[in-house]
Symmetry: C2
DNA sequence: CCATGAGCTTACCTAAAGGTATGTCCTTAC
DNA sequence: GTAAGGACATACCTTTAGGTAAGCTCATGG
């Protein structure tokens, strides 16, 4: 974070300096890997979803957290948001190209973990 | 079909049920995507590292968090731990096959985000 | 005989994440 | 006139993540 930012990027090999910098990538990584961000992105990979569909799809998520997570992802450019000005308003969410780009390795990550653990407990 | 998620849960198990279950995969996902877990795994992809090397590589991490994160990853089978019984003891960490398997999409995820956001960074 | 170093562990405490409950807007249906 | 539906916002409160700092081990060097 902004506090202890010391860039000791010496010549001692290639060290990921992005680990602690305040570049926008850090925020996006945080949002993508946040508790609910992962599941929102994975959910939206299959198809666009309404707010309430996401809420029911991702069981255990609260409306507050869903709204908050979506706001961050929309702000990051990973998710688009479309409002139909009906009453009540209907809002649909979907992945942008960036979102699809990011959702792919995310799903792959998730799949590799479950693939490894589901047959039998791995030691 | 976009709107099929909420009421069709009984018939079609299409929805990701892992979102809220207590299967071990959930824990692993949590550890992998935890604040420091990501950077530990990415750091270890290039080569095995000693504890202090990790601490210095991932700037901003505290010893407590590093130890805690490593313990979780070792327990999950993503990272191995080797102790040389010298004095002081020297401990080396590295990725298991599972860890390499998981580290790949994780790095890819990270790279895609940085590639998109910073035209001149990450590398 | 005390400091040092590597790799932790433990206690303590604060910041923030996240849950629960409620309010809001506007319109149609009853 | 009141409930309901959809997508939130907001206040309040609890849980947890994570930072700081100290301690521990034990052989070696000063």
């Amino acid at each position: 974070m902004a506090g202890g930012v010391q860039h000791r990027q010496a010549e001692a090999g290639q060290r990921y300096d992005v680990f602690h910098t305040d570049c926008p990538a850090r925020d996006v990584v945080d949002h993508v890997t946040s508790r609910w961000g992962i599941w929102v992105l994975i959910s939206l990979r299959s198809n666009d979803l309404r707010f309430y569909e996401l809420r029911e799809s991702i069981q255990g998520i609260s409306e507050k957290m869903l709204a908050q997570t979506l706001r961050a992802l929309v702000h990051d450019g990973l998710v688009w948001r479309e409002v139909e000005p009906t009453t009540p308003p209907q809002v649909t969410y979907g992945l942008t190209e960036f979102g699809r780009d990011v959702g792919e390795p995310l799903t792959e990550l998730f799949d590799r973990i479950t693939r490894r653990l589901s047959p039998r407990s791995a030691g």
